[in-house]
């Protein structure tokens, strides 16, 4: 079942700029591009979560475990 949608207005020059930018990108429309970007922003992907990156110590510990288990 298609999800319900609402109409949002953006300035025409911005729309046309996005339209030019997405040519050949794999996005089939400006709408698809904007939805993708907004979902990304809302998920917090742009926010640097201090627990999202591994510390050097954590990375070394993981690699050590992987070596001990024979993966590396």
């Amino acid at each position: 079942m298609p999800e319900p949608r609402v109409t949002i207005k953006i300035p025409r020059p911005l729309y046309e700029r996005i339209q030019r930018s997405i040519e050949g990108s794999g996005f089939s429309s400006v709408t698809d591009f904007i939805v993708y970007v907004l979902r990304d922003v809302m998920s917090g992907a742009g926010h640097r979560d201090e627990r999202g990156e591994l510390t050097r110590e954590e990375l070394d510990a993981i690699k050590e475990r992987l070596k001990n288990l024979g993966y590396l």
């Binding site: 079942m1 998920s43 954590e58 990375l59 992987l66």
Partner: protein, 398 residues
């Protein structure tokens, strides 16, 4: 494609977790100590096998972006739209039920609940929501049946009538008695893939031994990616499925004899099976994205059981999502077999010959042969795998 050294690690682009960030609900330090101290005085809820697997997966980010068990708003959104309220695809409810012998009134929204397995307190849920679901509607929407013979429907009938929802804080991952050398969390598989120089990784999900047909699909996929992750599900399955420890021995002998070890990794997937067919195929793909995989193999009747789903329904459901919102690339394969006329493994797409030239055995036939101590033909199963299964059947499994 790459198979580079550690020097290439920084050049490796990894697929983002679903929602953009790998969730971590494992608490440590002072937070853990404080919660542990309080937990023993909190109302307790016992976790069943599925819920135990789910808290482990939520805790280590395998179910990113989920941070706990679903509230009613999220549950309804998943059931009705196959998306989370903010728009990300998600197809299976992840729920915690009050057990039939537990009093729902002891759990109060706004307060915490201790998550227990026997006497062990594994974590705490910060209770946001408590409600009575329509389990028949859940079965109809998720499992596409309300037939009590379906194992997923039977599961719903076995759990209590009240669901609890809220974020969880987990003290320790559940302890496991077996396969601990093969338990890698998403952050570990991601480090592994990067260290191996793999940018593209295909995941293969299974709850069965790997026969020649599965091997064929995996190797076809491996031709176009850097690495293969064999990711067998080892959580709760139904009676009649081959036990996980037997399957692991099958995988080990197969990898030892027939797979290029520098291109293949095997790690266990701690999830419980829902047997939800199409919806579970999407779920399986999204979770493997969290493990760092860029591709996911979907064969015949993925996550199916009996005849509840069409043979390729689990592939067709991917058409209901855009490529961008899933991000992980499904690789669809049709029925595969050994063709005596072609002289090789093939599929319905690549072989022009009829069924009389195809070496194919039904699951029932295979079980009968194994029960008699008879190995299936090598065109169907590798002899080393067959030996493991025959030995297991002699000991009374299956």
């Amino acid at each position: 494609m790459t198979n580079g050294s550690a020097n290439d690690e920084r050049a490796i682009h990894q697929i983002k977790p679903h929602g953009g960030r790998l969730v971590n609900r494992l608490v440590e330090g002072e937070t853990k100590e404080n919660l542990l101290e309080r937990a023993h005085a909190l109302p307790k809820i016992q976790l069943n096998e599925r819920e135990l697997a789910d808290i482990e997966m939520i805790a280590v980010g395998a179910m990113s972006p989920l941070e706990g068990f679903m509230t009613r708003e999220v549950y309804d959104s998943v059931l009705d739209t196959m998306h989370l309220p903010l728009g990300l695809p998600w197809t299976l409810p992840v729920t915690l039920s009050v057990k039939p012998d537990e009093d729902p009134d002891q759990y109060r929204t706004g307060l915490d609940v201790a998550l227990c397995r026997g006497d062990a307190v594994l974590g705490v849920m910060h209770l946001e929501d408590k409600w009575k679901p329509d389990k028949a509607a859940e079965a109809e929407k998720v499992l596409l049946t309300t037939d009590e013979a379906h194992p997923g429907v039977a599961y719903l009938g076995s759990v209590g009538d009240t669901y609890l929802g809220g974020e969880i804080s987990v003290f320790e991952k559940p302890e496991h008695e077996a396969m601990n050398d093969y338990r890698l969390d998403p952050k570990e598989t991601r480090v592994l893939f990067k260290a191996k120089g793999w940018s593209t990784i295909v995941a293969f999900q299974t709850r069965n031994p790997i026969h020649r047909a599965h091997e064929y699909l995996q190797k076809c996929a491996l031709e176009i990616v850097d690495g293969l992750l064999i990711h067998p599900l080892v959580g709760a399955t139904k009676k009649g499925d081959i036990p996980a420890d037997v399957r692991m021995r099958c995988y080990e002998v197969l990898l030892e004899n027939y797979y290029p070890r520098d291109r293949v990794a095997i790690s266990v997937f701690p999830a419980a099976m829902r047997y939800a067919g199409p919806r579970e195929a999407i779920f399986h793909a999204l979770v493997r994205k969290n493990y760092g995989c860029t591709h996911f193999i979907v064969g015949r009747d993925h996550a199916g059981v009996g005849k509840y789903y069409g043979t390729y329904d689990a592939q067709l459901i991917f058409n209901e999502f855009t490529r961008e919102e899933l991000d992980i690339t499904p690789l669809f394969f049709e029925h595969a077999f050994y063709c005596t006329a072609c002289g090789n493994m093939a599929s319905a797409k690549t072989c022009p010959h009829g069924n009389d030239e195809h070496v194919f055995l039904s699951g029932t036939k295979v079980r009968e042969m194994l029960s008699r101590g008879e190995c299936p033909p090598p065109e169907f199963t590798r002899p080393e795998v067959a030996e493991v299964l025959v030995e297991a059947y002699e000991k009374g499994i299956g």
